[in-house]
Symmetry: C2
DNA sequence: TTAAATTAAGCACTTAAATTCCTGAATATG
DNA sequence: CATATTCAGGAATTTAAGTGCTTAATTTAA
């Protein structure tokens, strides 16, 4: 998973939800998020569970339950959310790299590295607070 | 398909194979490409079929058969190969864009557009000849 | 204390995309 | 002409993302 740049629905849900929860005084529950983001409740619940496990959110059951943020939004980078959901970003290498690759200058590796690095840099520069 | 940036194995095969075929005097067959690129013969055949159909390559069956390039490599952009294999590049929009999206500045759309545009620009600037 | 609301967690299903497999048709060579 | 080689194209398989459902645990509030 997570080769080169690929923003899944799950990552979109993760980022949007974290901003919404960070802006709210009260716990926000999965149904509310589902209505705001126009995504399935199930998928949202799954992503939120992940973010709870990683320690960015806390969750409360029962009526008035939902999710709250428990880490300073200025300290949560988009990159953190991305990796919490998709796992570490890695560059998909050309299998025939170096001596094995029949091309003198293998465009594939250079391109993959360039694009991945740009993506990572950008995601490491932005925090949840920047979008509140 | 082809949302945001995603370099599949198929695209890698397409670019590598086109360069190899462009550099060769004689037809190159799927088995030779398979050995050079360390990818399955079947997958390579599929990708090559596509590039024949689109008109960049010609194919010959039987012994001594294989693929040859029939368009000037200086006129084949990486972007052309990408779209021949994956279809048009499009930006995956946030479903709640504009009034619907609960975020004031939807990072998702901005980011998706920025990264996609960079990718397309780069792929439109490079030709097969640049890698021969 | 009971009922309703809500997250947690696991599993099976669906769907779409990527990849592999299979069979048939074309062709060069002896 | 016979045979081995090779591409073509559709079928089948695999893989991954997302959906739907079910049960359990927890908590509020009547």
């Amino acid at each position: 998973m997570a080769s080169i740049i690929n923003l899944s629905d799950a990552v979109s849900i993760g980022i949007h939800s974290m901003v919404i929860v960070a802006k709210s005084e009260n716990p926000v529950n999965a149904i509310q998020l589902s209505e705001m983001l126009h995504k399935s409740k199930h998928h949202i619940a799954k992503v939120m569970q992940r973010l709870v496990k990683v320690g960015y959110l806390d969750s409360f059951r029962g009526p008035t339950g939902g999710f709250t943020i428990i880490v300073d939004p200025a300290k949560i980078y988009l990159y953190d959310i991305y990796t919490a959901i998709e796992g570490e970003v890695h560059v998909k290498e050309c299998k025939g790299e170096g001596e094995l690759c029949p091309l003198d200058k293998c465009i594939y590796n250079n391109l993959a590295k360039k694009l991945t690095a740009e993506f990572v840099d950008y995601f490491k520069s932005q925090t949840i607070k920047d979008y509140m």
